[in-house]
Symmetry: D2
Subunit: 366 residues, 4 copies
């Protein structure tokens, strides 16, 4: 069964790329949470296509409408439904794709799973368009987290092998992090960003596409969030992040590099800082030990594969004729999805962390 995740702030998303709408229902939001719908719209705009030459030409104004759960500027505490109607659909582009399965896409697996009944147009429910509702959920969670002094930030760490500097594991300065959301291309170092953009355009030119890595940091988290077996913070974040289309790897702190370290190096020795707060001298664990937050900045990275939709002719199967065939995917596609993935990664992390924060509140002595 698909469509639902969350222990306390549960999100249900729905919709197809070329159906009437995409949207979500959020259960479990506390009542009286002030929501700035303009901020929600701004977050959606960060994800929206059609903004630059490095993205798909599909234009969706992506205006979110809240149908329930919102009254007098605040959440009511009852389910909040938000809908984004689809508009700029060119469904004719997709007719051939009912039979010919696009390599690297869900098409073939979904054809089997849904016994041929899924809406194949534009990937249907598997479309990256379904990340718009995720951004809405994240924009709600971010506002709730901000009220608790918690900020969620991400940048493009690399695209097509071109890297910019990583966040400082002990805590990237907050002004750097806060500056990222305003940038159309989320990097700290604009020169690196320029090189990435050029690489994207070059790939597009050769009818190809690029992937990359998104790195995220969360500041302000209290220690002790998360659960052992089976809800460590890593488990919940990875679960949600791997639900974002094209994500194929997730690592926390030093991640895969930890596998080559020795314990004396990897362990993050602890101390009380001047304010009596427990800190670590290093942050190889990315703010998570035993699956719980330890008060250090939360740090993780997400590998995004290159957009599978490319204009080149590819070998594939025709499931109607049951034969091998060639396929040239037309339509409008992002040569690199990574820049638009940044607000999605932030959104998904914000939602999961707020969910865990609500979990922790149950046990606070009142």
């Amino acid at each position: 069964m698909s469509g639902s995740m969350g222990m306390n702030m549960r999100v249900n998303i729905f919709g197809e790329s070329h159906g009437a709408a995409v949207g979500l229902v959020i259960d479990g939001l506390p009542p009286g949470l002030p929501l700035d719908l303009d901020f929600v719209q701004k977050e959606l705009d960060r994800r929206a296509p059609g903004k630059s030459k490095t993205a798909t030409a599909r234009k969706e104004d992506d205006k979110v409408q809240v149908l329930s759960g919102f009254f007098n500027g605040c959440t009511t505490g009852t389910p909040l439904c938000a809908v984004i109607y689809n508009k700029d659909q060119h469904s004719r582009d997709y007719s051939e794709l009912a039979a010919k399965m696009r390599p690297g896409h869900a098409d073939y697996a979904a054809h089997v799973r849904y016994q041929g009944h899924n809406d194949h147009r534009g990937g249907g429910h598997f479309s990256g368009r379904l990340t718009a509702p995720l951004v809405v959920a994240g924009a709600v969670a971010k506002q709730a987290l901000a009220g608790e002094g918690i900020g969620v930030y991400a940048h493009i760490l690399s695209i097509g092998g071109i890297k910019e500097r990583a966040f400082s594991p002990l805590g990237e300065p907050e002004e750097n992090l806060k500056s990222l959301a305003a940038r159309p291309f989320c990097v700290l170092d604009e020169r690196a960003g320029q090189a990435m953009e050029e690489a994207i355009l070059a790939a597009k030119e050769e009818q190809n596409s690029l992937g990359g890595v998104v790195e995220a940091m969360v500041l302000g988290l209290p220690a002790g969030l998360g659960e052992p077996f089976f809800d460590p913070v890593e488990s919940r974040l990875a679960h949600a992040l791997f639900s974002v289309p094209a994500v194929k790897g997730v690592e926390f702190g030093a991640g895969f590099a930890l596998a080559a370290m020795k314990g004396a190096e990897a362990n993050d020795a602890m101390y009380y800082d001047e304010e009596g707060k427990v800190r670590c001298f290093t942050n190889n664990n990315g703010g998570l030990t035993g699956g719980l937050t330890n008060g250090m900045p939360l740090l993780f990275r997400v590998a995004v594969k290159p957009t599978p939709s490319i204009a080149r002719t590819q070998a594939t199967v025709d499931v109607v004729k049951k034969e091998n065939c060639q396929l040239t995917v037309t339509g409008r596609h992002d040569p690199c999805i990574v820049p638009r993935a940044v607000p999605v990664v932030e959104a998904v992390a914000a939602w999961q962390l707020y969910d865990l924060l609500l979990n922790a509140k149950k046990w606070v002595k009142q």
Copy 2:
């Protein structure tokens, strides 16, 4: 809330390292599944400590007792409870650790989360000992999967930077895979294994520890398992894998390497093979597209950090005296947890895949 995971085969684990027992309850197993309890015990023995000089000296015979849900050699379909009583506990080793938080461990985060009430002895509920019930769950799932022609295999890909060859992404020969479980040190190439063992002993000698990477492959999976938002195969496997202590990274197929590939290379072009089965020419997606199995071998890797328990003196905090302190962790510890993590990774994957397989059965036309 912790303790439970699974949509159809739900597993609840319980226990503390130095409490009376560790164990699990499994709900949702179909009735009439023949279970070989000797196989369950053998899987537990693969994970058990005390077997070699590269592992902890703690000896637990880890005999599993099934208390319910098993009758006449088969599952009954009602909850199956299995218990492993703790025996060789040296709880005196841990008295100091109620106050002094071991770096790299759950200790400090758990102290905050549980408001000082968690059983700190040997890590309590956060102990690697809790992976024994996971192995039991996996041994049950493996038998169910075997009945459907599905096999789950893993090996040590690297320890302390020393690598052996990776599985062939298009499908490691099954005889190679099947030979792994019988080996005390799960590698294809015994020379690489020997180098790894030497590295572990050297690390132990210097009061240090090593991490590594476990690679897993699943053969025989039908196409179409998994769910979009929020239960892709990647999401569920990563969720469960990140619940295994010391795991800090998970990647599928080419994983993080995909971030530097181009689409034309990364896409796995498809064809019908001679038997009319859909196959891919490459397997960069690790058998998963759109979050669903596509019929190719499932392939993933897991980064395991070096054992945080080392005999060296480390800087840390004393949460009782609220002051900085030095800590020398005594007791018996694995200088490298990776070899014992192999059956755990297999177990967790088997459980999650069987869970998804049961999900798929609901929709089969009968």
Copy 3:
């Protein structure tokens, strides 16, 4: 957390009486289920207000729009969202009710639960209007059940103490049951129905309201549906039925009358009928033994309290002024909700039974 129920066909409802819309998202529907949306609309029309002088004058055409999960006349297998926009709202009727709590309604309890942030207009999320999405869920489930030969039927057993004859416990003739849905007033005996209608009008005349009992029967269920601890059929049906506003009692088979029977009378002795099917000589257990269906007709009754909204002046509290006060509820209300509850009871039962049927399919040998 509210808003979600179901193990396999999960329903999430949202909306407020005087908000933009009410609706639902259904996860877990199998793909390829043919859906007749006209039937869905007809079921909604059975529940709709404004049809007769015994119901509220509020007119809602209650047109359902499907936003997702439906393609080429069938379910896709991905989440199905349906929305019913609100139209004939007279929100001015409710201004006084932000402070003065209507007796018998959710008002005061919701004011506390939602810390004053709930949408109080027309009961907000607690309104009987939220049963419209339930009817949509039921109309989908009924079509799925019909494909398996299962029919769900209900009638008005009593209103204000005026009874009609009960369904025959061993199985009301199906033609009788099938005739009910077409009637505006769901009774087998039209004279009894007429007496009930007169009682309703008399109650309305005296600014009062009536309650009643709805009785339901399900034919065609296979034996073996349901689960012990904690999902017996009784548990799941009662859970869903008690979520319908105004329901205060649920009983199965002979129900409360069983408490005064002896075992020899209450036990339903069994036999093989001529077709080799197991049957019972009596059906005091209402088709359920051990919490599972036993192949006999499922039979249950639901007590519905009189509509709490009455035009008489009542004593209550003003939570703004924190003082006792008098309240005269104006606006448009049903003097008796029971006739409109009939399709809701059917809907809720159909949904839960289909959910359990999907559960059973997982274990069928394929």
Copy 4:
């Protein structure tokens, strides 16, 4: 899938009547909750068989062993497992019952559901013995609730048609309620109790059995517990209560009697009492309006059918020979389960209410 219920205090029960043990795992308990295990044992003793001539002669000392989640006299916050080993089993009594289905029992339905693989001995997992773990869960929840000033009480309202006086809906004096638990036969009026006991013995004499009604009251609940769609207090209590074997009806407040009342009578008019607390003049709604607690005493009644195991010969089916047959159930059985159901009803209610109380804590401003 069976075996698990609860949003915040989740209970998983396991075991079979004639297996090794019955038990439970509780997830989600807050850490630091002091638990008196003697109280748990006392509650179990209230439910235990073998105490009087009105109950089964099966003697189980029912000693509970806590295997995890308990440390230094308190909950740890990690899963608590408790086991009760089975001892006085006479499994030979049940050999005939693998084929011959006992009327009124789960036998036939379970035989179908579990495809013949369920443990049939003594009803297996469907046995009333599984209520012992429920009592353990309730004994934990009662201690947590007591810390919040909440008490859960029940008595035998009727057996075989013999009634004692009902609790006062506006609040039975607490000293009356508190006196009940100490009595072997839970009634307020001992003469009524004596008449009930005599009726039980008379039924036993004639190889018959009796049912009855249990009435429960909960004092001290804050207003605002529960959730609309789909977790009203009625829904959750009924869900759990209908999971108790033999329960066939549940009603709240005036329950089915409400169906014959008029609104002006049924509505519970409200006022501020001298302490500024909102109260109702009547309590027909049983402390629940809109599915939420309203601060009045919670009141409900549960119909328990007569024990299906009777010594008389009954007609039934032999599922092995596929033929009609006669069955005389031997073994040891309660001629009336109602007295032993009282602590079970209390336990189940305590658990569900504590679960909802934890839900409410998430939203408290801290």
